[in-house]
Symmetry: none
Subunit: 191 residues, 4 copies
DNA sequence: GATGAATGAGCGTTCATTCAT
DNA sequence: CATGAATGAACGCTCATTCAT
């Protein structure tokens, strides 16, 4: 097993276990065990558990963004762009339930809150696409004139909730329902 | 201190500490300490920490429902009823941030998922009011014809997200924004 | 076993093990084991290992000082007072080899150095008797006019070295040798 | 880098780190890192950490003895020879604090005790010069008639104590104090 | 019934040593 | 030979739970 393979195994094992059992339900020893490496090995790649958690999140973002931006056309009208991003995001979550569950664990933790605070209050962005889209929508008077944070809540709140319900088996989303859901989100934010 | 007083003190202390620090940041000894009782005493009232957590949730619901149902008029049109419930819920969260934070911790935990599963799949209800409202809305063709679970997500997803952002200080909700937010939720679910 | 008994057992076990194997050779688990208590129990009495080490030292001083001050007569001439303290100290070490070995471990550690720094540079004393004695001796022109620190080294350096050699079995000190050694120390510091 | 250079780098790095942080504060990986070699490489030159520690001590002695024996004249009277050796030793410690700190770490460890035991009880010498000097002194009735071990304690105890205090900054030794200190040691051992 | 001291399994992390490259 | 990634036993410490008082 090569060097990068080991790091990858650790990342995979950690993602799985944390997604499934939460941060506290995924001891380092269990992660090491599932990854097929020694307990100390994790610490070659990640300074400590906190860093592992943060890098897992970064890794996830790096996988997620390219996918939802595929075939994204900046020239299209705002509604179409929102539909593209919303459905792509929801589809990604459904197809990558581990990633989604990890994302939830991360958001619902001190790390996630801090990360969010930095993003909203600080200048360092990442989710620019959505922010740009919403700011455009407001200035073009296509979207409701509400604080950005609330528009985000109206758009992503349902997407995350619906993705979770699908993954937990409370509902089964097919392509039709995906589109219907994102359209409903659009109804929520559009003027 | 009477028997019921003791139980109440434990419940209050546990709610505060868990809301503030999460399940894992609130050891039983710390809860006992803040409640002004012995560590062993908690176990007279709650079989173990898991049970305490679950009963805390039940207690919270019992406080929450009477408040949001105050002045709730079954005879009003569906839109008005939704606005009443939605704004009341959001107001309650804002005014009782501890309750809200606890609710979030609970939902984002194995207990919460199991609880939800029972509610949605099983027959035992509780959130009947919303379920009734939404089912009425669908049959009266006022609401979109979507699975109940999705309507819930469209309505509650943003409410929870917005409440959290307010409590974390990312946005400040006044009465106007509360109403605007719930109206936007209505736009999302209405036909 | 009563509450205080447990603390005492821990203190005794820790003293023995640290005296014998050094701080790093005396894991908390081993101390707990020898004390006949659970590993967690130690932490009821001592916040952490560092605190345990420091309190062990305090305990030791509280045992040591009364013994060497027994029958100590402030009115006697300086030489006699020095002989009293010196021989008493050396006797104590020989009769309480565990205490001596612990003292050495403590002095030869960051804790000990810091403790020493506080004592010499700060105002908080404890070894006042010796300091007073030496300062008196200097001002009465009985002792050499050297910095206190050096006088301490001349007096205690040999005492500690000789105690260690006795305990390790490199020499066997009887009462005659004890007196001869302290007299030699006196020769070192006296004018 | 040649074979001997590598060994030297390891020795130098180990001495520095152990002198500064103690045996337990100087992991092999850190030593390797500072020496600019691979961690495994150390094990080509030293069987394990224990052996490294012991050889470091031997190296130190090999550096120390030539220095203090420089201009040492066997024909001079005993007092003068003691003064030469004592002041040379103290000066060496002051000028080579790393060596001194290492020496202390070593003496205050199981290795050091074992080493001492071999030297005193066994036949293999090394400190012959001092032993010879003291035995001469006793037979010429210049020194007190005490066991050699005690004479050693009276002579070296203060030297080590005073060197430590200087290095820790508790006193500042200039040439005058160095001589005064060694003269005081002489007063301690002389008849 | 109420207490809180005692427990010990389990946690995150370190590091001397090995061995495939 | 030299390397440094990999190992896993061992560390200090926490905390849900029990039970003698």
């Amino acid at each position: 097993m090569s060097k990068l393979d080991k790091r990858d195994e650790v990342v995979k094992a950690a993602l799985e276990l944390i997604a499934e059992h939460g941060f506290h339900g995924a001891p380092m020893a269990m992660i090491a065990n599932r990854a097929g490496v020694g307990a100390g090995t994790i610490y070659r790649y990640f300074e400590n558990k906190e860093v592992l958690i943060a890098e897992l999140y970064r890794d996830l973002e790096e996988r997620l963004f390219p996918v939802i931006l595929e075939k994204y056309d900046q020239e299209k009208p705002i509604r179409e762009k929102f539909m593209h991003l919303g459905t792509a995001l929801l589809r990604y979550f459904i197809e990558n339930p581990l990633d989604f569950r990890y994302l939830e664990q991360f958001h619902n933790s001190p790390f996630g809150v801090e990360h969010r605070r930095d993003k909203i209050l600080g200048e360092k962005e990442g989710c620019d696409i959505f922010r740009d889209l919403f700011e455009d929508g407001i200035s073009q008077q296509v979207l409701k004139e509400l604080p950005l944070v609330i528009l985000f809540a109206l758009a992503f709140g349902p997407i995350l909730a619906v993705a979770r319900d699908h993954i937990l088996g409370f509902v089964t989303l097919d392509e039709g329902l995906i589109i219907a859901t994102i359209e409903a989100c659009w109804d929520g934010i559009r003027r």
